[in-house]
Assembly symmetry: C2
DNA sequence: TCCTGTATAAGAATTATTCTTAAAAAAGAA
DNA sequence: TTCTTTTTTAAGAATAATTCTTATACAGGA
């Protein structure tokens, strides 16, 4: 991804849009370029601010809509806050989660093995690590049977 | 946690509150009981709805405040949507994250090993798993040096 | 070029969460 | 107990993120 040249990335982008029946608009190009050129997992607001000076008629709603569309077709991913409501877990013991991509259900499971994953060197050197969690994602039983 | 009896759990709860200089109020007891008796990682709103019929003067603000307090002292955990703004990642290749608990910075790292974690049987049987991510949490370089 | 469906801007609306403030409750001291 | 101080709460206003509505503009195909 970061290795590609701008040109190639653009062609790839255009192709993926076409495959999903999406028009290739200046707004979509701008949002995709802004995101794929950034390393810090920006929010919609940050992307909007980065673009609006060169693209004054761009609206924040379009940025949200565009990013959602991209995430929907798998062109980008959502990380961090999922824009969902905050949820709470009474279990403070180390444990891990499965999260249903469709209904957002969260299922706990225990795995001493996962709780003992080795911290990668690159993190170990710079950060103080206080915990690790493994999140499997997919479709839950209920959503599968529909 | 779920193994304990109500009584023991309550004594433990009271003890932890005291240790952190928190008064043990009916609201706090109610919110903690509601959360620790639930298996589905409820939102503040859900907890509020569960309680308000027996506790009509309870306010939603108190539920939020109480849950935040509990999370702060480590009595419960926040899962799922972190209540933070949604953020986007242009990298759709399997990779993993470190997340700073203080400034919410997200740092990518790659680990083919983590991307190949074996799906636990309990999930394998019921769900369709489409991905896995490992999230390390702690304090980042910048936040450590303050 | 024109046509048709798709995408957009603008701003209103919605929703989750936090803040403000005055009152109530709890803890501590006398 | 009663008085004082500190903490907590309820109520509702405020804020911030995200989505919706609608009329207009644009993209891609014929």
């Amino acid at each position: 991804m970061h290795k590609q040249h701008k040109k190639e990335r653009f062609e790839e982008f255009r192709k993926i849009c076409r495959e999903h029946g999406l028009n290739v608009t200046p707004q979509r190009i701008a949002v995709y370029e802004a995101l794929s050129g950034s390393k810090n997992h920006p929010s919609a607001e940050e992307i909007f601010r980065r673009l609006v000076s060169n693209f004054p008629e761009l609206s924040i709603d379009t940025v949200y809509r565009t990013l959602n569309t991209f995430a929907h077709i798998g062109l980008i991913r959502i990380v961090g806050g999922y824009g969902e409501v905050r949820r709470y877990d009474p279990d403070t013991q180390p444990h891990h989660h499965f999260r249903c991509l469709k209904c957002s259900r969260i299922v706990d499971f225990e795995s001493p093995e996962f709780s003992r994953l080795k911290v990668p060197d690159v993190l170990q050197r710079k950060c103080r690590i206080t915990g690790v969690k493994v999140v499997f994602e997919g479709l839950c039983e209920e959503c599968l049977s529909r």
